[in-house]
Symmetry: C2
């Protein structure tokens, strides 16, 4: 018979063996004593708030729990001390975000209202009966466009007639709330609402319909150069303010032109990127002026197109991507194919083109050190052996540097081992996955499986305008709240390593890591000091 | 640059490496050529029905999908040819089922109505307003009990007054549907309804409230010796008819007595087991009389108690279990602690008692070959590092022969490896997990992770009276429908190995496997022949 002491020794050893591959075990001694104390303080607060906040009923949320559906639980999250701490944490790099889906609907509408050229149209007159089901569209129109109608709400409104956005707002039916009603309605069309995700579109197939529709609508406003510039700046400000110091954003380059100030679709990709490149030093200077210059390392772009083009069309984009890399060598960080993997084309449809991308770059004179890596979306699916699931095999064989989502990777022991051994990080988007109904809530998310198997991960936000998870604090919070193993140290290791998995150069990474560590040390010191003050 | 041919060779190799630990790879050559042809036929049917049945709207189920919520999708499942095939498959052993929760409410009510001693009471008068929220209870009462009331629906009904069940049914308010309304109402109280699981109690915390209540109610009818005998027989008949050939059922022995024919709580555990033992030869003879004697290998009991007793009380049960093993050496197959792991006591609360169980058995003279193994529930949870999740460590250290559920095992690489190396099978209950809201639908279930990592599994039904998944066909179906990797061969390997992971002796296993293989060969031959006939 085993003695109790012996049993407890064996038990502790078994738990240690089981957690040996975790990032917080492998890099166990990396952080300071204060970091370990901060971790303990955060665990205590999490435990207290599990009872004081998450185990009691809240207005309209009768049965909350830590890690619950984000859109329902967000107002409760905002009340927690745990979230307050997480907002102050330095987050490192944001490696998976779709640039056009980053600014919330209210802000975007306010931007749009500054431009008289922006119009709106609807598939029918807006009435209390039609408002929930009508299709709408935005578009900047040329100055010579003569509108024939100033309201979407009049019986005389003809389907698909363009109305100036400002007039449509001013003339919005009082029975629908007037201008405020208009603002609420548009903001709601530009996002995913709890009733969409958890009631009417509550599975991964249906919610994509809502996602696609809101995405299309958003692009009608964002792909317009006067908005584009302000939009990028706004995105950087909000993101850096949340403690992120470096960004690799995906831009959807499938449209070959965006709309210029003249209302015509005539602005080519290089102008999109030039604007992006121009905004960076302006933004950096504004931070310097505020004494915040350590906060921003930089931003790059992953050239992305929708995975519905033909293999021949892909060739055009690959060549275009190389051309953009030549023009903006410090901006272009990778190439990707995006969109719903379950219904659009799998990577294997494009094998000849993707396999020759490297030689194409050489033949076009891109020097070795400037070669554009693949950073593929793959496995963003519940499928087991489906085309979306099998994209993981192709992403890996094609030499992807990271994997966008990789939600289904946990089903693949060999691929998990390869990610671990080769340092291929998964860009894990917890809130996106939950709202797009891959996981019904955070406790169902496979992230702990990945962490415990030593698969590298970088936490990401994906589409904050859709999910209302601006920055990285909300995603970090959901991960922290839903586990009793993962702690502040785990999040610290993940944030620090996000820089390592970025496409920065070795020297840039060293500098960014150094700056991150300075901020991290201040962060954990503050937690310890504040806790000491509170307890005395 | 890699050639396309070379790429495809590498791709095939990578997929093969990734699937190298799967049961259908490891035992790849075990089955006949016809089995492989049947597997292909089943894959073809699955693919066809994914379009013809699962991609079209059905009455009241506007957006179905393969592996969808079982209680909503059940009527669609019954229309598929895939299900028809699965019902005919030999399933091997059913290793995880709670005996008292196996017979559906309608059948159980019909049994109860044969016994005038059975009474019902309610926490208030039953009216259209109260019927949804009222608490009810059943109980057989002694013959000398004088009831004062013959209806639950009269304004004169006093809370908690006992009414004879038959009278309560006869006198049930016509406004509530009369006797038919009564039958529907009772059946609904004895099960989990789609509105409970998917609307009102739609998370793992809340659904347990409903589960507990329905379970308590059921036990008021089942733990009554005249019903107990018929109940066991009925369970065996339904289970064997579904292609299961051997059962290890858990009986909850927490109550020390059940109610006898005299209406008194005075029938001790040995009588429960004697009845069980007596039913087996009767059932076997009835099968022989029908020429079906190969279908039934046998049935055993896992002695289980609810994990809420004190460690001192556990000692009584462990001694009792040993005594029962001496009286019924061929019936008692193991010991377990059951109930909601998230809120009841963890295994580590009972370490001194559980660690000494083996020496206790020796000191009480149980011969080595009759030692009672632990077959523990563990990890039936969404928790990450919670007490329920950590039960897995203790179950393993205490030497469990199998794991009941092990839902959270996928988070534990070391424990997964131990299960694989030591042949510790998980009793995976797909439909139970989904209805108890550990997975929102089958595509979210971790089973493919377990299979691909080579963790042994036995598919089980858990509580068919609650989940309406009698036998094993529904659970097998859900697993088959929700994957494009798992096929009929996979299910065949799992079914065959369920015998290997049972507590039968080596000789019994050999015989059971032989009989299973005969049935399997007939089964796959029939699929191939029938498909040939259809296509000609």
């Amino acid at each position: 018979m085993t003695s109790l002491d012996e049993y407890h020794r064996e038990r502790a050893q078994l738990i240690a063996d089981d957690r040996a591959l975790r990032i917080d075990t492998v890099n166990g001694e990396r952080f300071s004593e204060n970091a370990r104390r901060a971790d303990e303080i955060v665990r205590r607060i999490r435990k207290e708030e599990a009872k004081s906040i998450w185990a009691v009923d809240h207005n309209e949320v009768p049965h909350p729990f830590p890690g619950m559906e984000f859109l329902t639980g967000k107002n409760i999250i905002l009340k927690t001390q745990l979230f307050d701490i997480v907002t102050k944490m330095p987050k490192g790099a944001l490696l998976h975000v779709h640039l056009d889906l980053t600014i919330n609907g209210t802000t975007l509408l306010a931007l749009a209202l500054q431009h008289p050229s922006i119009h709106i149209r609807a598939s029918q007159q807006i009435t209390p009966a039609s408002i929930k089901s009508v299709d709408i569209e935005f578009r900047p129109l040329p100055p010579n466009f003569v509108h024939r109608c100033i309201s979407l709400c009049l019986p005389t409104y003809k389907p698909d007639e363009w109305v100036p956005l400002r007039r449509a707002r001013e003339q919005f039916d009082a029975a629908l709330g007037g201008t405020q009603g208009f603002d609420r309605w548009i903001a709601s069309c530009l996002t995913i609402n709890p009733s969409d995700a958890y009631v009417t579109h509550n599975d991964n197939i249906r919610i994509w319909d809502k996602f696609r529709a809101a995405g299309m609508l958003t692009r009608g406003l964002v792909y317009f150069t006067p908005i584009w510039r302000v939009f990028i700046r706004q995105f950087l400000e909000e993101t850096i303010a949340d403690g992120v110091s470096y960004v690799e954003a995906r831009i959807n380059f499938s449209p070959k032109f965006m709309i210029g100030p003249d209302g015509e679709e005539n602005v080519p990709h290089k102008e999109w990127l030039r604007t992006f490149q121009d905004v960076l030093p302006e933004f950096r200077e504004s931070l310097q002026a505020q004494g915040r210059d350590g906060e921003f390392i930089g931003a790059k772009i992953i050239y992305s197109i929708i995975r519905n083009c033909s293999p021949q069309e892909l060739e055009w984009y690959l060549n275009d991507c190389i051309e953009m890399k030549k023009l903006f060598p410090d901006i272009i960080a990778g190439f990707d194919l995006v969109g719903d993997e379950n219904v659009l084309r799998p990577l294997k449809d494009y094998l000849p083109q993707l396999l020759s991308f490297s030689t194409l770059q050489a033949s076009q004179g891109l020097p070795e050190h400037q070669r554009i890596p693949f950073i593929f979306h793959a496995g963003e699916t519940l499928g087991d052996g489906s085309i979306a699931d099998e994209n993981l095999y192709d992403a890996m064989l094609l030499g992807t540097k990271r994997i966008g989502h990789g939600f289904s990777l946990v089903k693949h022991p060999k691929l998990m081992a390869m990610c671990r051994e080769r340092g291929i990080a998964l860009e894990v988007c917890p809130i996106s996955n939950e709202i797009l109904r891959l996981a019904a809530s955070m406790p169902m998310h496979p992230l702990p499986i990945l962490i415990n198997h030593g698969v590298p991960v970088a936490l990401s936000s994906d589409d904050p305008s859709m999910f209302q998870n601006m920055g990285l604090s909300f995603d970090f919070f959901q991960v922290l709240a839903a586990s009793e193993v993962t702690g502040l140290l785990t999040l610290g290791h993940i944030a620090r390593d996000s820089i390592k998995y970025s496409m920065l150069t070795t020297e840039e990474k060293a500098l960014a890591t150094l700056k991150w560590e300075e901020r991290w040390n201040r962060f954990v010191d503050d937690i310890v000091r504040f806790d000491g003050v509170q307890r005395n």
